[in-house]
């Protein structure tokens, strides 16, 4: 088979192209930088957004999935709204009883009062934690798992006993790094003593519950001397999945009636939250694609420019090759391979950077970086695409060279 054949003759042009690329390695490496940046940024951001999406899905499930609807008390943003809000009592614990009675399609209610930061201390030292007062249903509705060494029951929780369930970070702080040893320890919450009766099962270093402290709402109301406290949020679980579509509207209508027509709450589903998060990630991805696109385009222009300059500087060589018997198609492949090798050099380095997150141990970063074989193939395809696009013009010009003219230089 002749080395000039289209199918058989790719090793020779590839080896000649490699010699040319290696002969100008620094120039090739500099030209490849833009492709490297484009591919690397694309892969890293893809891995990051995949990880964020996965984490959001996990969070979604931990917040009760599609069946949990969240009601959040809103604040007035101007004087007019302030006057309007004054007509309503706001989101109160007593609302839950009315809602439970009027909306039988819901079978779980989780009133929450955010106790804020910095009100929890150990032996006079403040413990950084986010306090939430809530009912026992919170564990069931949100599927919260707790490690406990004692008989932590609904009856004790709802009786208003001074109990705490704390996150892993808080538990570590109160027991010198051994979360299990935190059980039974006493903390001060708003200056009042309460005993650690459970530790939230941690889902990793960056689990948002690690810094949480949960106290019985019954104890909170007793200590505060307020039987009907204002709620920060109310989570409601729809019994049947079929009712999820109508449930937010029904809940909102009921709350409007309870709040004398004042819209002082936001009602959202976990699907809404997930969708918002998806939109944010999609926007982030789009920006990344644009940046990577510009970088890859610069890479292509750079390779094209170097390819044309290189062609001009070795017209004689290429003419000689033709005189020696190299066909137009062989020269086309040789020059095209030169662009492909430069793009491949950048793309290969970009792929290596894209693979690097796989070496980072789980839990080191807030998000798991996820990259699939398809993503890597995509990176490779992009590099090859840049090489082909930028190499076509010089390759075509090389193949069209007239050997007589070319050898004159």
């Amino acid at each position: 088979m002749s080395g000039n054949g289209w199918i058989g003759g790719w090793i020779l042009p590839l080896s000649l192209a490699w010699r040319e690329t290696r002969g100008h390695f620094l120039r090739s490496a500099v030209t490849a930088t833009a492709v490297f940046l484009g591919v690397a940024s694309l892969l890293v951001m893809t891995a990051l957004s995949r990880g964020m999406e996965a984490q959001n899905r996990e969070m979604y499930l931990r917040m009760g999935g599609a069946q949990v609807i969240q009601v959040t008390a809103t604040k007035a943003t101007d004087a007019l709204q302030d006057a309007s809000f004054a007509r309503s009592r706001g989101l109160r614990l007593s609302d839950v009883d009315v809602l439970r009675q009027n909306l039988p399609q819901f079978d779980g209610w989780v009133p929450e009062v955010s106790a804020g930061m910095g009100r929890i201390s150990l032996k006079g030292a403040r413990v950084r934690a986010m306090g939430t007062a809530s009912t026992w249903d919170r564990f069931d509705v949100l599927g919260i798992a707790v490690d406990t060494s004692e008989d932590l029951t609904r009856a004790r929780w709802e009786s208003g006993e001074a109990l705490l369930v704390v996150g892993a970070d808080v538990a570590s702080k109160v027991s010198s790094g051994r979360p299990a040893a935190a059980l039974g320890k006493e903390l001060l919450v708003g200056g009042r003593p309460a005993r650690v009766a459970g530790v939230f099962k941690s889902q990793g270093k960056f689990d948002f519950r690690n810094m949480e402290v949960m106290i019985p709402l019954a104890w909170y109301t007793r200590v505060q001397g307020d039987a009907d406290p204002t709620l920060s949020t109310l989570k409601a679980k729809v019994a049947r999945l079929d009712d999820v579509a109508d449930a937010p509207r029904q809940l909102k209508t009921e709350l409007l009636a309870l709040h004398r027509g004042v819209e002082d709450v936001d009602v959202s589903t976990n699907d809404d939250l997930l969708e918002n998060s998806r939109k944010t990630i999609a926007t982030m991805s789009l920006v990344t694609i644009l940046i990577a696109g510009v970088s890859l385009l610069s890479g292509a222009v750079g390779i094209l420019n170097v390819g044309l300059a290189s062609l001009s500087s070795r017209v004689q060589e290429l003419g000689t090759s033709k005189a020696l018997g190299a066909s137009s198609s062989l020269l086309f492949r040789q020059v095209l391979f030169e662009s492909l090798l430069v793009a491949g050099l950048g793309g290969g380095a970009g792929l290596a950077v894209g693979l690097a997150p796989a070496l980072i141990p789980d839990g080191t970063l807030p998000w798991t970086l996820q990259l699939s074989g398809v993503d890597l193939l995509g990176g490779l395809f992009l590099s090859v695409g840049v090489g082909v696009v930028s190499g076509l013009v010089p390759a075509w010009k090389a193949s069209r060279l007239d050997p007589v003219e070319a050898m004159r230089g």
Binding site: G3, G9, L12, R19, E20, T320, A323, G325, V404
Partner: protein, 225 residues
Amino acid sequence: MDAILETKGLRKSYRLGKEDVPVLHGIDFRLGRGEYGAIMGPSGSGKSTLLNILGCLDRATGGQYLVEGRLVSAFSESELADLRARSIGFVFQSFQLLPRLTLSENVELPLQYLGIPRKERRRRVAEIMERLGLGQRGRHLPMEVSGGQRQRAAIARALVKKPALLLADEPTGNLDSTTTAEVLDLFRQLHEEGNTILLITHEHDVAVRAQRRWKIFDGLMEEMA
């Protein structure tokens, strides 16, 4: 003796603006297998144009041109490339070695174009390099050796594929007198070994070493006694 090259009424003209400028005016020429010929002529006589056509680097605008009995005027670009690769070995005045390839790699290149297996390529390259006294210079780049060695490498590159015809364009034009003598001795030996050689030169001393000589002037060619 069968003909390696044969032209019948070969013409070539170039388009200059709206005018055709004739360079070759109907050349009849024949070079038999195993012959050693030289075409002489001053600058502008058309000898380089003729060489380019004979070497299948350019096309005639009229007449017929046959290589080993095949009419090449009708050949496609790729057929011409194949003919150059298989049947014609070029030696240029300025050597035209590829600067990033070693002498061995330069000599090996035509065999690669022919798709000859690596082992056979290496054997043939070693043989011709040794034959031309370049056995110790194979790993050197062209810029690392003398002009004479470069031209010998260029001749080795032309001969390695065992072409039907060795075409040399002013092969001694860039060489000193000693090296010129060496190269011409080499051509004589190659001729004695049965190679067909056609060289183009403007130097009488070079042309007289050939077995047959032609003179080209103003696009017309005639054989010299």
